[in-house]
């Protein structure tokens, strides 16, 4: 039986602008979801494959034949290369797909995209990083010089979150946030939502998980 993976946001009278609309047509399951701009949503997809396909489609701003995707009101199917690239810069993810680079330490991982693209400045990156680490009670000196293999799962997620906050995307996808974390650690990463909201009041935050059946 076909069933939507997640109820979409209730249609407002004046239709809100959507950050994301996604649909996937499959033999067993249909997935359809819409996320308004500025909202915080938690969606559960039926399996790992659907989750991975969804996150990949959004990050690439590109969809397969059985998918439909709109980002910020723009259908991605027939986008030009430049327009697709511009859309990609508005989206970011905290996901195993966008993991940390193993031969760079935490600071280099956090600052790499900014250093490569030339913005924000490294001083701003340092400030944001310091603030994020303060929120999660991590001492920067010991943390930032360690490579990912020397970090615990929670610390890796915090480093990836700091990198995400530096990029400051309009649409942030957080995939399987609690995977591999203890209950106490889950309580700590729950602060990601508040921190993102504090920094980007108009941003859209989407938590993606697998539905446990």
């Amino acid at each position: 039986m076909n069933q939507p993976a997640q109820a979409t946001a209730p249609e407002a009278k004046a239709a809100p602008q959507m950050a994301l609309r996604y649909a996937r047509h499959g033999e067993k399951r249909e997935i359809a979801l819409a996320v308004p701009v500025g909202s915080v949503r938690r969606i559960e997809l039926p399996d790992t494959e659907s989750k991975s396909a969804f996150v990949t489609a959004v990050l690439k701003a590109r969809c397969e034949a059985n998918e439909e995707l709109e980002l910020f009101g723009q259908p991605v199917r027939d986008l030009s290369g430049g327009a697709r690239q511009r859309l990609r810069t508005r989206v970011g993810a905290l996901s195993p797909i966008v993991g940390l680079i193993n031969n760079l330490n935490a600071w280099e991982n956090i600052s790499l995209p900014a250093a490569y693209h030339g913005k924000p400045s490294l001083a701003e990156v340092a400030t944001i990083t310091q603030e994020v680490l303060d929120v999660f009670g991590i001492e920067p000196r010991g943390f930032l010089v360690r490579v990912p293999d020397e970090l615990g799962k929670l610390e890796r997620k915090i480093a990836a979150f700091a990198r995400l906050m530096v990029a400051g995307p309009e649409l942030a996808i957080v995939e399987s946030l609690n995977d591999g974390l203890s209950r106490a650690e889950c309580a700590r990463v729950a602060g990601f939502e508040q921190e993102y909201r504090r920094r980007h009041p108009a941003g859209t935050l989407l938590f993606v998980d697998i539905r446990e059946e």
Binding site: K60, T89, P96, I97, V98, G99, L112, P113, Y116, H117
Partner: protein, 258 residues
């Protein structure tokens, strides 16, 4: 056959892309990666070659004078020819292939297999800019530096230590060396070592970024392929380059001073 053609095509594309993007070295993380490559490839490799390179010069002079019954003039000529034109760049290339080529291809294959190259793409970072350009440029500079280092040590070692085993003074050997040295030897070894560095790094990057499959088992296959092809490339470039520059019968470009 088809795979070989694909590899050649891929290697040429990668080389052209890397050469065309050298300007990105100005970006701070790429410059940092370049300097790191120069350090690991050139500086750390240099310590192991001191004694060997010094003894190389002594061996060449001693063997030439003893076995070939040559005079000082001939021994120094052979030292120059062998060390400057052939052994210096070749020895540097071998050190680079064994030390850095293996590490570079394995590191890049691991990055590809573990999805880190994909992560870089999602972060909007061009793989050529961040992974290929600094490695290619860094290995070229390191090969050149290592070549000079080996040449200097071999010639200096030959001049300093040979008087202990042959009947010639340091001054005799040194004066003959300066008489016989021509700028061609210098330019020849510069261009050749840069070409060696480019070929080795481009080949290792190509194989690292294109493993046969995305499992851990692919890493040793990548390293084996990269090292084998690097060695073949270096030997081929050496032969072709020597033929072009010193093939006076066919090209008449430079008169070999033998």
């Amino acid at each position: 056959m088809l795979r070989a053609l694909r590899e050649i095509e891929g290697g040429v594309k990668l080389s052209l892309n890397a050469a065309g993007r050298l300007g990105t070295l100005r970006k701070p993380p790429i410059l940092e990666s370049f300097l790191r490559q120069v350090y690991f490839t050139g500086v750390t490799a240099s310590t192991g070659v001191v004694l060997r390179a010094s003894l190389l010069g002594v061996l060449i002079i001693a063997i030439t004078m003893d076995v070939l019954d040559a005079d000082v003039d001939m021994a120094v000529k052979i030292l120059l020819l062998v060390v400057f034109r052939e052994v210096g760049p070749l020895a540097a290339a071998v050190v680079i292939i064994l030390r850095s080529g293996t590490a570079m291809s394995a590191e890049m294959a691991m990055m590809r297999i573990s999805g880190q190259t994909r992560a870089l793409r999602y972060l909007g970072i061009n793989l050529y800019d961040y992974l290929v350009v600094p490695r290619v440029a860094g290995v070229m500079v390191a090969t050149l530096a290592l070549t000079f280092y080996i040449q200097f040590l071999a010639v200096a070692g030959g001049l300093l230590l040979s008087p202990f085993i042959i009947e010639a003074t340091f001054m005799e050997l040194a004066s003959r060396l300066f008489d016989l040295f021509t700028p061609v030897d210098f330019y020849y070894s510069i261009i050749k070592s840069l070409l060696f560095g480019f070929a080795v790094s481009a080949c290792c990057c190509y194989h690292g970024l294109n493993p046969p499959d995305l499992t851990q088992n692919a890493v040793p296959k990548v390293v084996t392929r990269a090292v084998t092809q690097c060695a073949m490339l270096v030997l081929t470039i050496n032969a072709v380059f020597a033929y072009i520059v010193f093939g006076i019968l066919f090209f008449g470009l430079v008169k070999a001073t033998v």
